[in-house]
């Protein structure tokens, strides 16, 4: 059975808008126009244990929304979502102890204390035995090369330095499943390559399942044998990256970004 199973998931958001026009400001104080945005429109897919899947789509397609639902912090309006046999938002604490999540645009580290303190707190939260923790921490700090900023508070780190720490924070407890929402944001070339190599290695060694959203097509090319394309809340493609390339590559389009852009255009996104 698939480790991750989603079926016909819908999610709408309510957005409040201020009325237009000259008096919009004043009118808006009394009545707000409520509009509903369909972020996910019947998304469904299955991912097996140990797969490395790229999840791509244009801005606002619903990628982050899907990741939030799978991490148990957002409840869909309807549809089925089972991960490792559990419904994420119903059995939240058990569920999140087996997954690792990184939201590239947000920090889960603790802002004011040294990064190493955040890590040792995570050790207690996930109940990791001391020797295992030390070993894992050493492994991760070497792989992502962050030993030198362990004693610095998260708020004083640069974007890329912080991202590397965030990734470590998501991996300390050896999760079975990893959701990475734009993890390569802000990383320099060296760190990007290091992260890719590390993910590949981790996937091979411990069989961790990875779902990765990114706008950097090189990430996908380097890591994922399977890509899923989402647009306007719908799944539009699910298969190998080379399949997409074959379909959309042309003489004047060899660059992967151009190919993807052509696909988005073709799918009228």
């Amino acid at each position: 059975m698939a480790q991750i199973l989603l079926d016909s998931i819908d999610k709408r958001f309510k957005v409040y808008e201020r009325p237009d026009g000259k008096w919009g400001l004043i009118k808006g104080a009394f009545m707000r126009k409520v509009r509903s945005v369909q972020a996910l429109d019947g998304i469904g897919f299955q991912i097996g244990e140990g797969e490395l899947v790229g999840y791509i789509g244009p801005n606002g397609a619903g990628k982050s929304t899907t990741v939030k639902i799978m991490s148990g912090i957002l409840t869909p309006d309807c549809g089925i979502c089972e991960i490792g046999g559990r419904v994420p938002w119903k059995d939240r604490v058990k569920h999140v102890s087996e997954i690792g999540v990184v939201f590239g645009q947000r920090s889960q580290l603790w802002w004011d204390v040294p990064v190493s303190d955040s890590f040792s707190l995570l050790k207690d939260i996930y109940d990791i035995p001391e020797t295992q923790y030390q070993e894992r921490l050493r492994e991760l700090t070497n792989a992502l090369n962050i030993a030198e900023f362990l004693k610095i508070p998260a708020r004083q780190l640069s974007l890329g330095q912080r991202m590397r720490c965030e990734i470590i924070a998501a991996l300390l407890h050896r999760p079975k499943i990893l959701f990475l929402d734009e993890p390569t944001i802000g990383l320099d070339a060296v760190s990007k390559l290091a992260l890719r190599a590390f993910l590949k290695e981790e996937n091979k060694r411990s069989g961790v399942t990875v779902l990765l959203t990114t706008h950097d097509m090189d990430d996908i090319e380097a890591l994922c044998s399977r890509v899923m394309v989402i647009g306007r809340g719908r799944l539009l493609y699910d298969g190998a990256l080379c399949g997409l390339k074959e379909r959309y590559a042309a003489k004047d389009r060899q660059n992967i970004d151009e190919i993807i852009a052509a696909m988005y255009e073709d799918m009228a996104l």
Binding site: I73, V96, D112
Partner: protein, 273 residues
């Protein structure tokens, strides 16, 4: 359960260490507290002089009142104008949802974080200010407790006061997670204990017919009850009553807070991304 306790203790230790870094602000806090409380003590001196001449006999003597003021100054850290800054930021920018990606009991986690901030303030600001206040001459400074047994019951009562103050702040925090309401209700809810805890005026100086209600209402436990035990206007033999009140209200606020929070967390939406 064991895991939660250990994680919370570890969080408490780390935040305490973090809070201890703010030495400069603690030092200026001590000076502010000393100055304000001294002015207040002097004002009460003047007030008592004329009031007693006019035949006033309140629930407290001048000496007790001044001693009360300094104990209050020590415990003042338990009251603030708003909820914990860090939590408020997390709530307003939507990062609360991210905390839900961790397998932890958010209520007790936040509770430990709030407690660490207050304990640090209490030790670095409150207690230091109190000790310095013993040096103030002219009967306006801090005084020893009414008796040794008063002191012995005062200590656990301070502990209960922390429990109560934090349980209430957690309730306010849980309500504040409803971002559409904004800061208004929070400020109103935080004002209540300021008045009713005795931080503005010792509750025993208020009119007689209010006394029973004032003692039974929840906020007396934050400052007034420990202060009464210290100055001896509540005898050590009655301490069990005072502390039962404190514990009763703490429990009530904890249950309410957990309930509100678990309801709110279901509807919290992670913004952006």
């Amino acid at each position: 359960m064991r895991k939660t306790v250990r994680a919370c203790l570890s969080l408490f230790r780390i935040s305490l260490a973090e809070n201890f870094q703010y030495r400069t602000s603690a030092l200026s806090g001590v000076v502010t507290n000393l100055v304000w409380c001294f002015i207040e003590a002097a004002a009460f001196g003047v007030f008592f002089k004329y009031a007693v001449n006019a035949g006033f006999s309140g629930g407290l003597t001048l000496a007790q009142t001044i001693s009360y003021l300094w104990v209050r100054e020590m415990l003042l850290m338990l009251l603030s104008y708003g909820i914990n800054d860090e939590l408020l930021t997390k709530i307003t920018n939507g990062n609360v949802a991210l905390e839900m990606c961790r397998p932890l009991d958010l209520y007790w986690h936040w509770f430990s974080r709030i407690t660490a901030g207050k304990v640090a303030g209490f030790l670095m600001r409150g207690v230091i200010c109190f000790l310095i206040a013993f040096l103030i001459p002219g009967g306006y400074g801090a005084r020893l407790p009414a008796s040794f047994s008063s002191f012995l019951v005062f200590l656990p009562s301070v502990f209960c006061a922390f429990l109560l103050g934090n349980a209430y702040e957690m309730l306010v925090t849980a309500i504040r997670t409803n971002t559409t309401w904004g800061d208004g209700p929070m400020h109103m809810m935080m004002l209540l204990p300021k008045v009713l805890s005795g931080s503005v005026l010792p509750l025993q100086l208020l009119p007689d017919f209010l006394q029973l209600v004032l003692l039974l209402q929840p906020f007396a436990g934050i400052i007034d009850i420990p202060a009464r035990l210290y100055i001896g206007s509540m005898a050590p033999s009655e301490a069990w009553f005072g502390m039962s009140m404190q514990l009763f209200w703490s429990l009530t606020f904890i249950i309410l807070g957990k309930w509100v929070m678990s309801r709110r967390l279901k509807s919290i939406v992670a913004q952006g991304g």
